[in-house]
Amino acid sequence: MDESLDVLIQLQDVDCLLREMRDPEMASQEERLGFAVEGISNLERTREKLASRVDGRLLQTYERMSRRFFRVIVPVNGRVCSGCRISLPTNTIGRNSEGATYEFCENCGRILYRR
């Protein structure tokens, strides 16, 4: 997997965890079950570090799309985008400043990764 995409996936996982921990209902459910939840500021710093490693243009696309979608980066199952469940006719290829390529779903625009 491309390194920048790999970092972007980690960023999405951190964002997901941050959303959960900031969600009062989910955080209290964790605590009710007996799990300790602290150190969110460390997680925020991890996010900053990861974001600094992603190509600027790709990060911008991710940030913009994450306002619309819960998951911006999704796996391709067969030839189907697992975000919108639409079969991919052809791949739309994006390119970052270093020349690495990414695939985008033609229908929903999500960033795709191959399993």
């Binding site: 997997m1 996982d13 965890l17 079950l33 300790a36 150190g39 819960f70 998951r71």
Partner: protein, 165 residues
């Protein structure tokens, strides 16, 4: 069709839906928390639940860094969501020696349930599954039966009985 001929809808407990022999480690090789998590995630890759175990391990460790998922009484339920997981999965592992999971009671962990799931927006199932495990192992006799179980079949039966009980 008379109502008598209709088959009733049987709700299978979440825990039961996630019991897979390929995701069972009868005895962990490692003892340190960090390497135990690595060993458990590696099983996910072997069972084809992910092709990117390193990324999944990162997500599990990040959740663990927020606070230990050791619950005490010899139980730990590490859990995380990862983009690199396509289907919710559970790995069960036992350690007769015990693992230091920084549990609140300070006791070593002997039973570890790792839950991983994809990051879905509306997925109450994920924490409900965690809750079902917590409920299923609340009794000391259940925990002991799980530790003494000679094989996965016995572990499975014990957990199903406990979840239904």
């Amino acid at each position: 069709m008379s109502p008598a001929t209709l088959s009733p809808t049987v709700e299978i407990p979440l825990l039961q839906q996630h019991l897979r022999k390929a995701l069972f480690i009868s005895e962990l090789r490692t003892k340190r928390k960090s390497s135990v998590l690595e060993e458990m995630v590696a099983v996910l890759a072997t069972a084809d639940a992910t092709r990117h175990p390193e990324g999944v391990l990162d997500a599990v460790r990040r959740r663990e860094a927020l606070g230990s998922t050791g619950l005490g009484k010899g139980i730990a339920v590490p859990h995380a969501r990862s983009t690199l997981i396509t289907e919710r999965s559970m790995v069960i592992a036992r350690s007769s020696k015990g693992i230091d999971f920084n549990s609140p009671d300070g006791l070593p962990t002997h039973l570890c349930f790792l839950i991983v799931a994809p990051p879905l927006e509306r997925d109450p199932v994920y924490l409900n599954l965690v809750a079902e495990i917590v409920r299923a192992v609340r009794l000391a006799k259940t925990r002991q039966r799980l530790l003494d179980a000679p094989d996965f079949g016995t572990v499975r039966r014990t957990l199903i009985e406990a979840a239904n009980g």
